[in-house]
């Protein structure tokens, strides 16, 4: 969902349920609606599903098979897992953090963000930081493009001074070149057997289209070569590279061959100055990284559970605060009433005063106990008085003496 769609959807949510807070987290493989409401006005799952379906004019029945719902503590746990990237397609990826921040900002701008969801998401960001710092969930590289950048950075001192040559027009090659340019590589050449296609690619990548017929000359100039053609046979061979290396004074070259079948003859990788990686090499490293990340899931879950418990405890202790204030006010009120009853009755007669104070104590206790006594009697009718009596026992530490 684009940002303006999210804003409209949140606006619709607030119109239908004015007491509710809402956040929409929309990524490439999920749309999640987080809602926090007072218990009395809480919309049920069907209402939320209809709301979701209404955004894109989908039949709610059809949509229901593709949705999941979590409530209360499970919803908070899910939020922590999502923001910590445990629920992402690429485990441990960092983009979700940025996407969650965007979601919060959008909700804030739409005035759909309240205290509850802000606190949940703030905590989720803290949890995500802990998960990333204390486990290896984000270690290594999980995409071919970022891995190619890593290899380039390990070979060359400055990417900004390097020339990148992309041969072919494959999508993965394009992504890899974009990774390189995002890390500073500024001089990019694109070549293809079809010059129109090369020019189209060059326009997309803000690169220079160069003629394919002069490939050797371009190889001399290029430090990083990305190949992704559909050729049936290798287009770069050892004899050709021997010449190229001599012409470029044996400066090192990084070659990333993403094509299947291969564009670069494997023997080219035997030159001291050539670092050749093909799609299988890179995919192997990515798979190994993801497998290592899988092993970190238990440690991540432990952190999430620990943080969830701490979050709930804080929430509950904070929820109890206003109740305690009300209780104090009520007791003050009762004590004041009884004081007003007792004070006029005090005289110079000490014995009489003692009786007044005893009476005052008795009345005070009776009035304070009036509320729990009445409440427990009412609960006795629905059979739940025992559990409330137990709460009372624990509240006042009422242990029976033997």
């Amino acid at each position: 969902m684009a940002e303006h769609e999210q804003q409209q959807a949140l606006h619709n949510l607030r119109s239908a349920h004015p007491d509710c807070e809402g956040v929409i987290l929309s990524t490439c493989n999920r749309v999640e609606l987080y809602v926090a409401c007072p218990k009395q006005t809480e919309p049920d799952a069907d209402q939320l599903l209809r709301l979701l379906a209404g955004w894109r004019d989908v039949d709610p029945a059809e949509l229901s098979g593709h949705t999941y719902q979590h409530a209360d503590v499970h919803a908070i746990r899910h939020c922590f897992r999502v923001v910590s990237s445990l629920d992402s397609m690429v485990l441990g990826e960092s983009q979700i953090l940025w996407q969650a921040r965007q979601a919060i900002e959008t909700a804030d701008r739409t005035h759909a963000l309240g205290t509850t969801l802000r606190e949940v998401f703030d905590r989720a960001f803290t949890v995500a930081r802990r998960v990333r710092n204390e486990t290896q969930i984000a270690a290594g590289r999980a995409s071919i493009g970022s891995l190619a950048v890593d290899f380039a950075r390990q070979i060359f001192a400055q990417l900004a001074e390097r020339t990148v040559l992309m041969i072919g027009a494959g999508k993965m090659g394009r992504t890899t070149v974009r990774h390189l340019t995002s890390q500073g590589a500024a001089d990019v050449m694109v070549t293809n057997r079809t010059s129109a296609r090369a020019e189209q690619m060059a326009a997309q990548l803000q690169a220079t289209a160069v003629p394919y017929e002069q490939l050797d000359d371009h190889l001399v100039a290029a430090d990083i070569v990305i190949t992704c053609t559909g050729a049936d046979e290798p287009i770069i061979r050892p004899a050709q590279i021997a010449q190229v290396l001599r012409r470029r004074s044996y400066r090192p070259m990084l070659m990333v061959d993403i094509a299947v079948p291969r564009d670069v003859d494997q023997a080219v990788g035997e030159f001291d100055q050539v670092y050749l990686y093909n799609i299988d090499d890179l995919q192997g490293i990515v798979d190994a990284t993801l497998a290592e990340r899988q092993q970190e899931i238990a440690a991540c879950n432990a952190i999430i559970e620990e943080e969830l418990l701490a979050f709930l405890q804080r929430q509950q202790s904070r929820d109890a605060g206003p109740v305690l204030t009300l209780l104090r006010e009520r007791l003050d009120q009762i004590a004041e009433q009884e004081l007003q009853w007792a004070l006029p009755k005090l005289t110079n007669d000490v014995e009489k005063n003692r009786q007044v104070i005893r009476h005052f104590k008795h009345r005070l206790v009776q009035k304070v106990l009036h509320f729990p006594r009445t409440y427990l009697s009412e609960r006795a009718q629905d059979g739940s008085s025992a559990i409330h009596a137990e709460v009372l026992r624990q509240l006042f530490d009422l242990t029976e003496e033997e």
Binding site: F151, I155, F156, A157, L245, S249, Y250, P252, I285
Partner: protein
């Protein structure tokens, strides 16, 4: 005479260097940020400790007889290496070179303790000796730094060729930086070695007796051979660009090996050094 307190302080410096080397290694493997500052503080203390010992020793021996004991020379060598390790983050992406320099500095510091029983020599040719010794120690520092860069190059190169995960490598300097650093330090080291040899010759030139004695010293002969080898290698690197990269790294590593041989020769076989 080396006092007990000087030895205790030098041993403390050794402990600091070893701990810093271990922390640097752990930091690079686990990418834990807190170990970096702790490690830098330890190297700082080690440097300060060695400088105090060296100044103390110079004050003790008198200005004209400073550094007449091998212990002092080796401590100065270790100090220069630790200083280079401490400075390596200043050189941008060469930052992680301290991981290799610190263990070498610790090893050199430890070797100083092997010379405790040796007798200090008195010099009659002090001015030449100071420049000779200073050039040789600075040259040795360059050769060690170059050798360490060469080893790092070969290790990184091997991992890249084996197509292994970049997680550990991410903290290591890029091959290009290592190669340039290694080539330059070996070239500077060669210049200092040449200057050291020349000042050594000047120091004994006035005395025919000493000249004959030194001419038969295996250390002097070996150093001469080493100079010729370095000159040929550096010339080759300049004239044949296909020698760059892995082969240049091997050259830097061999420089380090030759240097260690010189150390052994100086300590075991040389009648004059």
């Amino acid at each position: 005479m080396i006092t007990t307190w000087q030895l205790i302080l030098s041993a403390a410096v050794l402990a600091y260097l070893v701990t810093a080397a271990v922390l640097a290694l752990v930091q690079i493997r686990r990418q834990a940020n807190w170990r970096g500052p702790v490690m830098r503080v330890m190297v700082g203390h080690a440097l300060a400790g060695n400088i105090v010992v060296l100044m103390w020793r110079a004050w003790q021996a008198g200005a004209d007889q400073a550094f007449r004991h091998s212990f002092d020379s080796i401590l100065l060598f270790a100090t220069l290496l630790a200083g280079l390790a401490a400075l390596s983050p200043v050189f941008g992406r060469l930052g992680a070179l301290h991981v290799l320099l610190l263990p070498v500095a610790a090893a050199v510091q430890a070797s100083a303790f092997l010379t405790i029983g040796e007798q200090a020599v008195r010099f009659s040719y002090k001015p030449w000796f100071i420049t000779h010794m200073a050039s040789m120690i600075l040259g040795a520092t360059c050769f060690v730094a170059g050798g360490v860069a060469g080893m790092a190059y070969l290790w990184v190169n091997q991992r890249l060729r084996n197509k292994q995960s970049q997680r550990v490598l991410g903290a290591m300097p890029p091959l290009e930086s290592l190669e340039v650093f290694g080539r330059r330090t070996v070239a500077i080291g060669f210049g200092l070695l040449t200057f050291g040899i020349l000042t050594g010759i000047c120091g004994i030139a006035h005395n025919a007796e000493q000249w004959r004695l030194f001419a038969r010293d295996p250390l002097v002969i070996f150093t001469g051979v080493m100079w010729v080898l370095y000159a040929a290698a550096l010339l080759g690197l300049r004239l044949k660009p296909d020698l760059r990269g892995r082969r240049a790294a091997w050259l830097a590593v061999w420089s380090l090996v030759l240097l260690l041989l010189v150390f052994v020769l100086a300590d075991v076989f040389s009648p004059t050094h």
